[in-house]
Amino acid sequence: MIVADRKPLNEILEMVKDYKKILLVGCKGCVTVCNVGGAKEVGILGSILRIARAKEGNPLEVDEKTLERQCDPEYVSQIKDLVDDYDAIVSMACGVGPQFLSERYPHKKVYPAVNTTFFGGAVQHGVWAERCAGCGTCIIHYFDGLCPIARCSKSLLNGPCGGSAGGKCEVSKDIECIWDMIVRKKMEQGRLQDLLEIKPPKDWTTARDGGPRKSVREELII
């Protein structure tokens, strides 16, 4: 899923400081699963914003709405009869949401309430970790299910580097050296010789280096 973190409260309060009535829009997709922008979090942020502004004697009316997804135009359109009642829209979806809302409602100012961080999964309840870099050409099978593009600080294809020590990356003690894990797994599985094959430089044009990407599926276009 796409993982995000809620922006600091002072940043959100600053965004809405000139407004009296806002629509806070959540998303039932990835941000619900990573507990950042679903109906529950929309309720919590809405309440916090109302409390903060009531305390200042400058009440803010916050209405809450959580869409099925903010990355599909048909769901974004579901609030078309509501948006004109508000001074601004605050989206709790990933970075896709505020953009789809802005495209659909160009006359409205749309603000993001979350920082979109990475593609990852829940390694334990309340902890998410990056697992995919969306590079556009998956090579996980060469590394026995461990992606060095997403999980090596340098995205090395032929590792580890000299910064690996005790299974940790030199960038931070909190980062496990994925190359240490790859080598150990290859040893456990008796396939260490796989690593003798030098991986040539990756074609990064399928990643962000090739510019913004688009996926076209002719069989689905109506």
Partner: protein, 114 residues
């Protein structure tokens, strides 16, 4: 036991303190409560294993949020006591009411009234 405790404490019963969510505490503050506290079972004695520990983390979260928006975090608290400790329940109620009286009325209630 017919114990006395301050009448301004409004009790909301829940099956376990683990049922108390962040939004419940926030709504109380938003609606003008001067303070709100959770009375959970003693740590390690939850019938549902971790209900009171979850409540504790949620109370801590709300305290942090209140601090960030300039409201005294002491208006929200978590207490642990066993269901057999009636006198302690009354004592906690008095303790919390005393604390809130020292802090004064909720700034939200004051602004709403103004």
């Amino acid at each position: 036991m017919r114990l006395n405790y301050p009448p301004n404490v409004k009790i909301i019963q829940v099956p376990c303190s683990g049922r108390v969510d962040i939004i419940h505490l926030l709504r109380a503050i938003e609606d003008g409560a001067d303070g709100v506290y959770v009375a959970g079972c003693l740590e390690g004695e939850c019938h549902f294993m971790t209900g009171n520990l979850k409540a504790k983390k949620r109370v801590q979260y709300v305290k942090k949020v209140l601090e960030q928006i300039g409201i005294e975090p002491d208006r929200v608290e978590m207490f642990n006591l066993s269901s057999g400790e009636g006198p302690r329940f009354a004592e906690i109620a008095r303790e919390m009411v005393e604390r809130i009286k020292n802090l004064g009325p909720s700034p939200i209630k004051l602004k709403k009234a103004a």
